[in-house]
């Protein structure tokens, strides 16, 4: 249930992101989701990719600072109010979220990627409420 997320430090420089996506494309790494947290000088690129470990190695060899972080993918219905409901559930259980980003896959489902201190707690809460979680097999390339 824990998904490996790639985080990459990116300077705010024209073409830098393109260089990175180029490297991933050349190495046949699929990107399922990504977000960029940006500041004036730099950004942190967070990605869910098909093959996280080899992707990290490849990027490291190209000089990128890369980190692999555990996250979970909470699956919710792609419909009004679902995100609110899910978040309410987490907050009422005192779960503090560090960051998150989401992607809607297809017409009926959306996935929210969540990073938090106690991922297991989130998993427990979500499971208890019979909510769906992204499985490694859903995103990883074989």
């Amino acid at each position: 249930m824990i998904i490996k997320q790639l985080s990459v430090f990116l300077e705010n420089r024209t073409g830098r992101l393109t260089e990175l996506t180029g490297i991933l494309a050349e190495n046949d790494i699929n990107i399922s989701a990504f977000s960029i947290a940006d500041t004036a000088d730099y950004g942190i690129l967070r990605m869910i990719v098909g093959r996280p470990e080899p992707a990290a190695e490849i990027l490291r060899k190209q000089g990128f600072a890369v980190k692999i972080t555990d996250v979970i993918g909470m699956i919710i219905p792609h419909s009004p109010g679902s995100l609110h409901k899910a978040l309410e559930l987490l907050s009422s259980n005192n779960v503090a979220i560090d960051y998150m980003y989401a992607f809607a896959s297809g017409e009926c489902k959306a996935t929210v990627v969540i990073r938090a201190e106690s991922l297991q707690k989130i998993i427990d809460v979500l499971m208890e409420h019979k909510m769906e979680l992204l499985q490694e097999g859903d995103v990883y390339q074989v």
């Binding site: 997320q5 985080s7 430090f9 990116l10 300077e11 830098r16 947290a37 500041t39 000088d41 730099y42 942190i44 967070r46 490291r60 000089g63 990128f64 600072a65 890369v66 980190k67 972080t69 560090d98 960051y99 990073r115």
Partner: protein, 433 residues
């Protein structure tokens, strides 16, 4: 006008004879009273009796800033504490401060050379001089202050900062002379324009600026903004503070007060004395100082000396504006900064040796420093708040160790150019002006 014709216009032969006598007696004095120098001279096989004329000066070993640090705080004093009337010290950015003690006579001599300097800028007892150099351990404020009093000018000891008040007093008191760092002078000039103060109410005619490197372009700007003639003054606390040398109205270099501070230019690598006109490291022997004379102190400043008689009538040699340093020290807003200190700060914060680049620039006449630090995986967190906290931590450590505030820019690993030889750690864009 010349404050002290006897010494400022002395024939070279007579001056050299005087210098020889002064060095001779100073060497004997330090040999007798400072164990550090006695040992050093003995190691070189030199006895005070070997030093008789100014030509013998080059036989003597050099003194470095490190020697001052090693003898912190009072190890190089030739007088007991009862005869020390003033202590000044550097900010101690590289660890230990360098401490300089002054006797009563030293303060008199210092006042004398500053009086000579101010006279070069046309200051008389009819002037009102606003001293906006910092007062305190830094030599700028008090150094100028005593000299200005000796000239008989009315002193406004306002010290640095508090720009609004500076302008107000300038207007209300009718200050005619301003003394401060050139960057602050330019800042005051701009503030003056912004405050929409009627220039007819400002009576400034001259400025005495030093303590940091500045360009001719900046001089023109200050002169235009403040409507004054801007004079360059040079000094360093190890020798006396401001008043080691000063520009006369001819503005063709700064006259060194050679009867007190004997200048030499050496090849910084070999230590060989270079003839007038050649570029090299400036070395001073402040032979008349009582409390803490030094033998051939290496300033690390690179410049040239010119001995041709000046149109102003003074025979004292002139030194050009310093063109750089023989070490890698930077002077940023009057603070001495060594890139190695930045490295030390960064090293303390991480296991690995970080790559960094100091980018120094000047915006609105104030020095700015950006330190680019490469992020390696050890540093890297995937959370902005962590990286920002790291940035703040670097900033705070730089500020507390070096005494300057810098912008910290986190850059990608490999961004900073690696070189095969000596690493390029500094980009000083100020020189491009």
């Amino acid at each position: 006008m010349i404050w002290n014709k006897q010494y400022e216009c002395m024939e070279r032969e007579a001056l050299q004879k005087l210098q020889g006598e002064r060095v001779k007696s100073m060497v004997k004095r330090v040999y007798d009273t400072v164990p550090f120098y006695r040992k050093k001279l003995q190691e070189e096989g030199i006895e005070p009796g070997d030093i008789n004329t100014i030509d013998d000066l080059k036989k003597l070993p050099f003194t470095t800033k490190q020697d001052l640090r090693d003898n912190y705080p009072f190890g190089l004093f030739t007088l007991p504490q009862t005869d020390i009337v003033r202590l000044h010290a550097s900010s101690g950015t590289t660890g230990k401060s360098t401490v300089v003690g002054y006797s009563h006579n030293d303060i008199q001599m210092w006042s004398e050379v500053v009086a000579r300097s101010l006279t070069m800028a046309g200051v008389t007892n009819s002037d009102i001089i606003q001293i906006a150099y910092g007062y305190g351990l830094f030599t700028g404020g008090l150094g100028l202050h005593y000299g200005a009093e000796k000239v008989g000018a009315s002193v406004i000891p306002i010290s640095g900062g508090n720009t609004k008040k500076q302008l107000q007093l300038m207007e209300d008191f009718g200050s005619t002379v301003l003394a401060c760092t050139p960057s602050y002078a330019a800042y005051l000039g701009e503030a003056l324009a912004e405050e929409k103060i009627d220039r007819r109410n400002i009576k400034l005619k001259a400025g005495v600026f030093g303590a940091e490197p500045w360009t001719e372009g900046m001089r023109a700007q200050i002169e235009q903004l403040l409507g004054i003639k801007a004079y360059d003054i040079y000094g360093l606390s190890e020798i006396i503070g401001p008043g080691v040398s000063m520009e006369c109205h001819c503005q063709k270099g700064m006259h060194v007060f050679e009867d007190h501070f004997i200048p030499e230019i050496i090849n910084p690598d070999t230590g060989v004395v270079l003839p007038y006109g050649e570029l090299g490291e400036l070395v001073f022997t402040p032979a008349t100082k009582e409390a803490m004379p030094l033998i051939r102190y290496r300033t690390r400043d690179l410049t040239r000396l010119h001995a041709e008689k000046c149109d102003c009538g003074r025979t004292l040699v002139r030194m050009e504006k310093c063109v750089g340093r023989s070490d890698d020290m930077l002077i940023i807003r009057g603070v001495n900064v060594f890139p190695s200190q930045v490295e030390a700060v960064l090293l303390e914060m991480s296991e690995t040796k970080p790559h960094y680049l100091l980018v120094v620039d000047r915006e609105n006449n104030l020095d700015t420093v950006e330190i680019q630090v490469e992020i390696n995986e050890q540093f890297f967190s995937d959370e902005v708040k962590e990286l920002e906290a790291l940035r703040q931590r670097i900033r705070a450590n730089i500020s507390s160790t070096l005494g300057i505030s810098a912008t910290i820019r986190l850059v990608e690993h490999g961004t900073i150019e690696r070189s095969m030889g000596k690493a390029q750690r500094v980009v000083d864009k100020r020189k491009l002006q």
